[in-house]
């Protein structure tokens, strides 16, 4: 039994060995196995993500194709809405357009001025603005105005007349003075 009894220096050596062992474990797990496992886990997670992306990509592409077919009408409609308004600032083209329109309706005296613009609250119409115009027809007769208003409402689907005022001209009772407040929706350029 005396043979297994350790001497003082032997105990020191055993202690040193244990400390060395612990140090080795620390080095091994912190500087070798740990980073390796971390990078492996990262790669596995990336593979999983990319794989799910790949799986969903097929669905996405078929969805886009189906949507393209379904939205054909809407796309055409939208293009038509966009085509209604020419390029440039509305103040530059809208008043002349009204002048030509009413001239074609045999109403020669027309003045159009911008009253204000306002954006939309709806998220769908963030790219569109509401322009409010005051169209003044100082000399027109009721029947012609009625026909012109009908044609205007049919020709300009994005235009809505919000106020209408018709008053008799005192000195020329056969004519009326007409004021229209019209709101037009125009895409921001």
């Amino acid at each position: 039994m005396n043979q297994f009894k350790l001497k003082k220096d032997q105990i020191q050596k055993v202690g040193l060995s244990v400390v060395g062992f612990v140090f080795l474990l620390y080095i091994y797990f912190n500087f070798f196995l740990g980073p390796l496992n971390r990078s492996r886990n990262t790669m596995l997670a990336t593979i999983k993500e990319k794989q799910s992306n790949l799986d969903s990509s097929r669905g996405e592409m078929s969805k886009a194709t189906t949507l393209e077919q379904q939205a054909k009408t809407a796309t055409t409609h939208f293009a038509a809405f966009k085509a209604m308004n020419p390029e440039g600032a509305p103040i530059a083209w809208f008043p002349p357009r009204m002048k030509i329109f009413f001239a074609n309706q045999r109403i020669d005296k027309v003045s159009t001025r911008l009253e204000g613009t306002v954006g939309f609250k709806q998220a769908e119409l963030v790219d569109w603005m509401k322009y409010s115009w005051l169209i003044n027809l100082p000399q027109a007769d009721y029947a012609t105005v009625g026909k012109a208003v009908a044609d205007l409402e049919n020709a300009e689907p994005l235009l809505s007349i919000t106020k209408l005022s018709i008053h008799l001209l005192q000195d020329q009772p056969q004519f009326q003075q007409v004021d229209l407040v019209a709101t037009n929706i125009i895409q921001k350029k």
């Binding site: 032997q10 050596k13 990336t46 990319k50 393209e68 809407a74 409609h77 119409l125 409402e153 005022s165």
Partner: protein, 221 residues
Amino acid sequence: MALHLNLLHEEILEQRQRQRDPLKIGIMVLAGFGVLMFIYYMWNAYQTLQIKGRLSVVEREWAKVEPTVTAAQKRSAELNNIVKTTRVLDEYVEDRFFWAPFLQKVTRCVAPNTQLTGLEGSVSEDNKAITVSIEGLAAGREPRSAAEDLRQMLTEQLGQSYGDVNVEFKALEDLDTIVNVGGTNMAMARYVLTVNFSPSPLATKSAAASPPPRPTRVPKK
């Protein structure tokens, strides 16, 4: 029994002591563990390399598909946006109030002895209520009743196309002026009518569409 003499007793003891030197044993154990851990590390490294290979394959596949998928997603988002915007714009177009039919109806209501001198109308912000003020002159033996005829005519005509029609006199006053209509002198009255209605005829039509419950006949016994 033969006598066995050990003359190298001390040397042998020293050698034995050297052999069971704890530091030496510890180093051997450490080396053993080190080898085991190295093997385990190499196994892990091998597995990691395999995973890296798999990852590069998946990444290559994704790199091939990604531009198409991104374009498809972008197009989908764009199309969804177009569909939603078009829907809202369509609603706006459909919800507009058309003034021309209204003006036509007013024309139908105006008799030769009720002249309109002014008309002012406005549409509410949500396009759900229309308010019109009509000002004019009525002539006749009883000009007030001529104005009342106009009011009733407007109620009837507008009620055919619009809902919640309400036509009321805001003002109705006799004038001292006498007017000659068709060779006959007639008294005049000035009126201001306030017309309120909803562009949708559904409000009144839905009420009219649901008939009142019929009285049930109890069979005679």
